[in-house]
């Protein structure tokens, strides 16, 4: 930590608050990690596979963001409108969107019903893009909250050790002893029925916040543990000792010495966390406790498709393939990021 000692002379520990910590963190991070960060970026640039899959993810996100454009200008419908009784012209023949015995048409590879219709006669391609917005929103938000909570829990447990650590770590162990999905489904069923009241904030049962919060909480142990480990070793480092010797308080040490050094572990975890969150959203959707109808998400679309697979396998294949592609892109990119930040694994790859 190349830090001007005058800083400490100017702001004594008594003056330190969370606000005072924030600019110090912003100023401290580059000084602390300029070398490693540049190196990591350079390594990532050299990993063409990871970059290609990262780009694929960006393209997928852009496609989902452009969903309204596609719906208005190409498919001329919206994700909720059903076309049950309509007919469209394929190869010069008029065909029912949903046949009389309830079988929806498959992919037409044309503007309308490009990927077919679902059993309510809704355009699968349009729902796929809108569903992607929900899945991605849930995945990214949940991963952000998981990261936030894990850093708080991990940093407190690792920094203060002792009794605090024991309480926090055991709590995490109990959550860990639960099968992730069972916990998710239990919380999901409960919350979708009654909603959630957090003081003045009310979250209604069909809100997207329900799956976001569940996924975020369920994954905290997986991320908080390694962060705690990192903090345990950081707090013994010379620069922390130096700060302590200069009279810095707990908050100051936490915000300007410990937290900036956790950024790489958080960055390494983040893409993989988003991938896992999207997968868990899908599982919750399949079990009926994720995003509530008529809102689409990849999870609920796969769930519906699996239930009705006999009336058209495309109903399950299309959203599933999209989800696999997205999660795969995140996983490969995330691997690349990890290798870039962890030179040891890079050496391993070059063998």
């Amino acid at each position: 930590m190349a830090r001007d000692p005058a800083d400490f002379a100017l702001e004594g520990p008594a003056a330190i608050s969370a606000e005072a910590g924030a600019p110090a963190e912003a100023g401290g991070a580059p000084a602390a990690g300029l070398g490693p960060w540049r190196l990591a970026l350079r390594r990532l640039k050299g990993n063409k596979t990871a970059l290609a899959f990262g780009a694929l993810f960006v393209v997928l996100v852009a496609m989902c963001l452009a969903a309204p454009l596609y719906a208005d200008h190409v498919a001329h419908t919206d994700p909720y409108k059903n076309h049950l009784t309509e007919k469209i012209v394929i190869d010069g023949k008029k065909t029912n969107v949903v046949s009389l015995d309830g079988i929806p048409i498959g992919p037409t590879w044309e503007g309308k019903f490009f990927l077919g219709a679902d059993i309510n006669g809704r355009d699968t391609a349009v729902r796929l893009l809108y569903g992607g917005r929900n899945s991605l929103l849930i995945g990214v938000s949940a991963a952000l909250i998981t990261a936030f909570l894990s850093v708080i829990v991990g940093a407190i447990a690792g920094y203060f050790r002792g009794f605090t650590d024991t309480v926090l770590s055991r709590t995490l162990d109990v959550i860990w002893a639960f099968p992730v999905l069972l916990l998710g489904v239990a919380l999901g069923t409960a919350l979708t029925i009654s909603g959630l009241d957090l003081g003045p904030i009310h979250v209604s049962g069909d809100s997207k916040w329900v799956p976001i919060l569940i996924i975020a909480v369920v994954y905290v142990p997986y991320m908080a543990r390694p962060i705690r480990g990192q903090v345990l070793s950081l707090r013994e480092k010379e620069f922390v000792e130096a700060a302590r010797a200069q009279g810095a308080g707990h908050l100051r040490i936490m915000f300007s010495e410990i937290l900036p050094n956790l950024s790489s572990i958080v960055i390494v975890f983040f893409p993989l966390m988003v991938a896992n969150a999207i997968l868990l959203e899908a599982a919750l959707g399949f079990l009926g406790v994720g995003v509530q109808p008529p809102e689409p998400s990849w999870g609920t679309m796969i769930g519906d498709g699996v239930d009705r697979i006999l009336s058209g396998p495309h109903l399950a294949i299309v959203p599933g393939a999209m989800l696999v592609l997205t999660v795969l892109a995140l996983n490969v990119f995330g691997d690349g990021v990890r290798d870039a930040f962890d030179p040891r694994s890079k050496i391993r790859l070059e063998q």
Partner: protein, 315 residues
């Protein structure tokens, strides 16, 4: 060894207790979760509700309810709120299905992970390594119920190679039992093979550079023995830990999606069905059942550890 066993049993009791409290709390802090309302049917009258509440003890404070329920768990007369079925009996009926699924899948994924992990490590950097690594990543990125449903549809329904879903007890017809479980085993294993083989691959590559491996070579051991006794043995340690956790979770009903998609009617599927009904007693019993297996398998792993790494002693 005795002290180790006592400590482990103590640990198991603590985890099971904590899990049961957490489960109970999840369901009891929820306002919409009032079981009396659901039991009373669509238009409950207040008198009827009162009778149900008194009969089932829902009017008692939460801790009394918890105590009562736990007593029933241990005397095996726990009854489901929604179906009035005997919960322990139902778990008992379904447990063999879950065990069959877990055991077969665990063997399958361990064998394939080791084979794949070792192969890709030896071929590191070559085309076959890259290709298989991508396959492993695809395996990790697939939702199990999705690949399961597609297998069920194509292999089971469309081409009719294997039965699509359901379960036949091994005592009735071992061949049918095997055929019914083949797809669930495969579907469940795919994810684990992806995860494990990647970890094993990087462990093997790491260990190959360790000093003790160089020493083993220097003292003239044949390459085969260096690999099996020194490299592989050490690389397997983290995999064994994971295997214990995951096998325990699947045994304890964690394979909710696989069981549901193939309609195996196992413990996990029972959990999913009960949760859907906000039916506390089965969920409570199943989570404790799951916690029991997780701790049990952790113990097995610790013993395996000591066998793999002589430096580790159980006490």
């Amino acid at each position: 060894m005795a002290r180790f066993a006592v400590r482990r049993i103590g640990q198991m009791l603590v985890v099971m207790f904590a899990v049961s409290v957490l489960t109970f709390l999840i369901f009891n802090v929820i306002p919409g979760g009032d079981p009396a309302l659901r039991m009373a049917g669509k238009q409950p009258d207040p008198g009827q509700l009162k009778i149900i509440r008194e009969e089932w003890g829902f009017d008692e404070p939460v801790y009394v309810q918890y105590e009562e329920t736990m007593k029933k768990v241990f005397t095996a007369d726990l009854v489901s709120y929604s179906t009035q079925q005997d919960v322990i009996q139902e778990i008992w009926r379904r447990a063999p299905r879950t065990f069959a699924l877990a055991l077969g899948a665990a063997i399958l994924w361990m064998v394939f992970s080791i084979a794949l992990g070792v192969f890709t490590a030896i071929r590191a950097g070559q085309f076959s390594d890259r290709f298989l690594t991508v396959l492993a990543l695809i395996g990790i990125s697939m939702p199990v119920f999705w690949i399961g449903a597609l297998m069920n549809y194509y292999i089971g329904f469309k081409w009719g190679i294997l039965p699509n879903g359901g379960y036949v007890p091994i005592t009735e017809d071992p061949w049918e039992w095997f055929k019914h479980l083949l797809m669930p085993w495969a579907a469940l294993s795919i994810l684990f093979i992806g995860v494990y083989s990647r970890i094993l691959r990087s462990n093997v590559l790491d260990t190959m550079n360790d000093d003790f491996v160089r020493t083993a070579r220097a003292k003239g051991l044949p390459e085969r023995q260096v690999f099996l006794k020194h490299v592989l043995r050490n690389s397997l340690i983290p995999i064994v830990t994971l295997w214990g956790l995951d096998f325990g979770a699947v045994l304890g009903g964690g394979a909710i999606l696989t069981e549901t998609v193939f309609d195996l009617q196992g413990v996990g599927q029972y959990a999913a069905e009960s949760v859907d009904q906000l039916d506390v007693p089965p969920v409570l019993a199943i989570t404790m059942f799951g916690a029991f297996f997780i701790v049990l398998l952790n113990t097995v792993v610790d013993i395996l550890y000591a066998a793999l790494d002589p430096r580790i002693r159980l006490n």
